[in-house]
C-alpha cells in the first residue's frame, strides 16, 4: 500500500458558496503504480476533472491527501505535467518557444542552453512536430496543437502525466492518430499516466486500468476495471478481440445501465 507511486487517499472535495455546500467528490481512494496508464471515465459533471486538478495541485483538497513518490501534493508543479483539454498553448509564442518555456523553467541550472535546445527539439520530434517549430499555434491544426501540448508536458519529465480529455475536441481520425502516438510514447518512455476521458474505446485501448466514477454530486469510484490486453496494442487487431470486447461491454454497462446520466444533458 505505502509503496504505491501515486496514492490518492480518502480524498473529498466540497465547494461552499454562501451557506450552501456542494460535495463534489467523496472518499476517493486510488493507488497507481509507476508506469501504469490509468483512465478515469464518467459522465460529464461527475467531478473527474476536479480529481485531475486535485492531483495536479491546481485545486486544493477538502479532506484526505494525494501522495506522489511519498511526498504530499499541495501545489502545482512540473512533476505533474498537465495536458489541458484545449491545449492551452500561449498564442504569442511559437511552437518551439512554448515547449522551450517549460524546458527553460524546469531545467534551468541543470542543462546548458544547447542541451535545453536539444531537449526541446527531441520532445517536439517525439510528437512529430519538429517541422512546425517556427509556427504559431494559430497556424497549426487542432491535432497539432494538442501534440505540442503533449510535447510541452513530456519535456518537463513529469513523474505523472495528467491528460485532461486531451482528444475531446478533435475529430475521430485525428484522435486515433494521437492515441497511437500516446501509446507509442508510453511504451517508449514508460510514463505514469492519468487520463480523463468520456470515450469508452479510448479508455479500453489505452489503459491498464479504468476507473469508473459514479454520477455527482458526491461522486465516488464506482468500479475499477483491469484491462489485461497485451501491449503493444494494435487498434485493428483489437476490433474482434474477446478481452477488448468484454472490457468495452463492462464499461458501457457501468455507464449506461447502472449509472445512467439522470439529468437532461
Amino acid at each position: 500500500m505505502a509503496s504505491a507511486y501515486l496514492s490518492i487517499e480518502q480524498v473529498g472535495k466540497s465547494y461552499s458558496r454562501g451557506g450552501a455546500t456542494t460535495q463534489v467528490l467523496t472518499d476517493i481512494d486510488l493507488k497507481v503504480d509507476r508506469g501504469e496508464f490509468i483512465s478515469i471515465i464518467g459522465h460529464s459533471g461527475c467531478g473527474k476533472s476536479t480529481l485531475l486538478n486535485i492531483v495536479a495541485g491546481l485545486t486544493p483538497v477538502s479532506t484526505g491527501a494525494v501522495l506522489l513518490d511519498n511526498c504530499e501534493v499541495n501545489a502545482p508543479g512540473p512533476d505533474r505535467a498537465v495536458v489541458f483539454q484545449n491545449h492551452s498553448l500561449l498564442p504569442w509564442l511559437t511552437v518551439y518557444d512554448n515547449v522551450r518555456l517549460a524546458v527553460d523553467k524546469v531545467f534551468r541550472g541543470r542543462k546548458t542552453s544547447a542541451e535545453r535546445h536539444d531537449w526541446t527539439m527531441h520532445n517536439l520530434d517525439l510528437v512529430q512536430m519538429g517541422h512546425a517549430r517556427a509556427k504559431r499555434p494559430s497556424e497549426i491544426s487542432g491535432g497539432m496543437k494538442q501534440r505540442v501540448g503533449i510535447a510541452r508536458a513530456l519535456a518537463m519529465e513529469p513523474k505523472v502525466l495528467l491528460l485532461d480529455e486531451p482528444f475531446g475536441a478533435l475529430d475521430a481520425l485525428t484522435r486515433a492518430h494521437l492515441q497511437d502516438s500516446v501509446m507509442q510514447i508510453h511504451a517508449g518512455l514508460g510514463n505514469t499516466v492519468m487520463m480523463i476521458t468520456h470515450d469508452v474505446d479510448e479508455a479500453v485501448l489505452l489503459s491498464d486500468r479504468i476507473v469508473m466514477m459514479t454520477n455527482g454530486p458526491s461522486a465516488r469510484i464506482g468500479e475499477i476495471l483491469d484491462v489485461p490486453l497485451e501491449r503493444p496494442r494494435r487498434r485493428l487487431d483489437l476490433v474482434a478481440d474477446p478481452i477488448y470486447l468484454r472490457c468495452r461491454a463492462a464499461v458501457l454497462k457501468f455507464l449506461y445501465e447502472r449509472h445512467r446520466f439522470v439529468e437532461a444533458a
Binding site: G77, A81, F84, L89, L90, P91, W92, K105, S138, M156
Partner: protein, 301 residues
C-alpha cells in the same frame, strides 16, 4: 513586328534557329503580360481605395463653395480659404519670433505636450491598471474612485492644475495626463482580469515566479486590451490639448485657433482644423500600428 507576341524576342535569332527555339518563344513572350496585368491590378486596387473617399470630399467642397459663395456669407468658401491662407499652407516653418510662427511650430508644440502627458498616462495607466486587474482589494478600493473621477471633463481639471502648478505648461500636460489615463487604466485592468484561466494554470504548473508571469504571460495576454486603452487615450488627449491651449496661451495649435478667432481670420481657423484632424488621424493610426505589431499573434488561436 507584325505579330505583337513576338515583339520582345530578338527577331533574328528566332528566324535563324527555326523550330527548337519556337517552343521557348511563348514563355518569353508571355513575361510582359503578367507584369502589365500586375500593374493594372495594383492600379485598380489603389484606385479602389482612393477614389471612394474622394467622391464625398469633392461633393462637400462643391456644396460648401456654393453655400458660401454669396457676398454676405458668414464663412469663407474653400476657394477663399486657400487664397487667404496661401502663405500659411506653403510655408509652415516660418518663425518671426514671439507667437508669430508657422503652423508646423504650433503643431510641434502641441504634439510635444501631448506626447509628454500621454507617455506619463501610458506608464501610470498600465501600472495602475495592472494593480487593479491583479488584486481584488485594489479593485474594490480604487475602482469606485476612478469611476467617479473619469467622468470629470478634462477642462474642469485645468483651473485646479493652474492653482497647483502656478504655470500653464505643466497644467496643460496634467490635463492631457488626466484625460488619457482613465481608458488606459480601465482597459488594462479588464485585460488582466480576462486572462484565460488556462494560461494561469500553465503558469502555475510551470511554477513561474511573479516576474516571469508578468513578462511571459500577463503582458502578452492583456496586450490587445492595453492597446485599445492606449488608442482611446491618444484620441482623447488630442481632443483635450486644443481646448487646454486655448485657455493657457503660448505656442500651440489651440492658441493659434483662438488667436485667429480674435483676429477674425476665419480661413486660418479652417486650415488649422484640417491640420488638427489629419494629425489626430495619424496619432490614432500610429498607436494602432504599434498595437498590431506588438500583439501580432496574440489574437485567439
Amino acid at each position: 513586328m507584325s505579330v505583337p507576341a513576338r515583339d520582345s524576342v530578338p527577331a533574328p535569332e528566332t528566324r535563324v534557329a527555326a523550330f527548337p527555339k519556337a517552343k521557348v518563344l511563348p514563355i518569353v513572350a508571355a513575361r510582359p503580360k503578367p507584369w502589365r496585368a500586375r500593374f493594372v491590378a495594383v492600379g485598380r486596387a489603389v484606385a479602389g481605395k482612393v477614389v471612394p473617399p474622394l467622391i464625398p470630399l469633392l461633393f462637400l467642397l462643391v456644396v460648401w463653395e456654393l453655400l458660401c459663395a454669396g457676398p454676405d456669407a458668414a464663412l469663407p468658401p474653400p476657394s477663399r480659404v486657400v487664397a487667404d491662407t496661401w502663405e500659411l499652407i506653403t510655408d509652415p516653418f516660418y518663425d518671426r519670433g514671439g507667437l508669430d510662427k508657422g503652423l508646423f511650430w504650433h503643431l510641434f508644440a502641441s504634439l510635444q505636450r501631448v506626447l509628454l502627458g500621454y507617455s506619463l498616462a501610458a506608464i501610470g495607466g498600465v501600472a495602475i491598471g495592472t494593480l487593479i486587474g491583479q488584486s481584488q482589494w485594489a479593485m474594490r478600493s480604487l475602482d469606485p474612485l476612478f469611476q467617479v473621477l473619469r467622468t470629470v471633463p478634462p477642462l474642469a481639471w485645468l483651473p485646479l492644475a493652474l492653482a497647483a502648478f502656478k504655470s500653464g505648461e505643466p497644467s496643460a500636460i496634467f490635463v492631457i495626463f488626466i484625460t488619457a489615463v482613465w481608458p488606459i487604466v480601465i482597459n488594462t485592468a479588464v485585460g488582466i482580469r480576462n486572462i484565460p484561466e488556462d494560461y494561469r494554470n500553465v503558469a502555475r504548473v510551470l511554477q513561474l515566479n511573479p516576474l516571469e508571469y508578468a513578462v511571459k504571460i500577463m503582458i502578452p495576454a492583456a496586450a490587445p486590451y492595453i492597446f485599445t486603452g492606449l488608442r482611446i487615450g491618444i484620441g482623447l488627449s488630442w481632443l483635450a490639448i486644443v481646448a487646454a491651449e486655448m485657455l493657457i496661451g503660448g505656442v500651440g495649435i489651440g492658441f493659434f485657433i483662438w488667436d485667429a478667432w480674435n483676429s477674425s481670420l476665419i480661413s486660418d481657423i479652417i486650415v488649422a482644423l484640417i491640420y488638427v484632424g489629419i494629425i489626430g488621424f495619424f496619432l490614432d493610426r500610429s498607436v494602432a500600428l504599434v498595437g498590431v505589431l506588438v500583439t501580432r499573434g496574440t489574437a485567439t488561436s
